[in-house]
Amino acid sequence: MLNPDLVGRTFTSADSVTVTKEAIQKFAEVIGETNFEIAPPTFSISITLEQSQSLLQDSGLDWTRVVHGDQKFEIKRPIVAGDVLHCSSTIESARNVSGNEIVTVRSDLNSATDLVVSTWSTLVVRA
């Protein structure tokens, strides 16, 4: 059970991530994408996944029962090689639906000047 006090908790990484062409290419090749200049629409998950997990690490969630419920991306501009991004993740909501706990984590990727991508990951903790 997630501690309800954790809703609103934000974690901002001290370190930035520099997106390399190699990282974009590796991701793109898996899905058959041949454009390595621009990151595919879901590429940002490779940056935000670890951070959103560390945000919830000590949250009391039973990770053995967690499944990914849904995922949303709002892409303000495409990620390109050379981007230096900071990730900030927030536990946006936690609710209980028929015994299943549903937690939504928002992660924003910012460059020095602009918000690049916002993502929402909804995790379902099966009853």
């Binding site: 590796k26 899905i31 994408e33 670890e50 892409i75």
Partner: protein, 132 residues
């Protein structure tokens, strides 16, 4: 490419998912959860077999959208993971994606996607919003 107007449908595309692709996606995305690679582990937690990363299924659906608009023109992309894509050993599992335009407004179009695997819908409410 089809004209982007409400009701326009895009031809289905088939993407093959196998165990090798799951390892490649794990390495590219950083998601090394063993349920996507280790059959014994997957079964030990009650799954029928190794399952694909939901985010791999979504990434392939994203490729379908990029093929319509170009990756640079995808503004929003969302999906619900409603059924797992089970990937047995030595098997290519076909994920079939199709899409149709449901809204066009001010140079922005919404494309609803259907993602089927063995005739079962695996993504729910899957949609891309693109700049046209």
């Amino acid at each position: 490419m089809n004209k982007i107007e409400v009701g326009a449908e895009f031809a289905p595309k088939s993407f093959l998912i196998n165990r090798k692709l799951l390892v490649e996606y794990a390495d590219a995305s950083g998601d090394q959860n063993p349920i996507h690679q280790d059959e014994a582990f997957a079964k030990s937690v009650g799954l029928p077999d190794v399952i694909a990363h939901g985010m791999l299924t979504m990434a392939l659906a994203g490729k379908y959208v990029s093929d319509i608009s170009g990756s640079q023109s995808v503004l929003e992309f969302s999906a619900r993971f409603i059924k797992p894509v089970v990937v047995p050993a030595d098997t290519d599992v076909a994920l079939v994606i199709s899409g149709k335009v449901t809204e066009v407004n001010n140079g922005i179009a919404k494309i609803e996607l259907l993602a089927m695997c063995n005739e079962v819908k695996v993504l729910g409410m899957a949609k891309g919003v693109i700049k046209i």
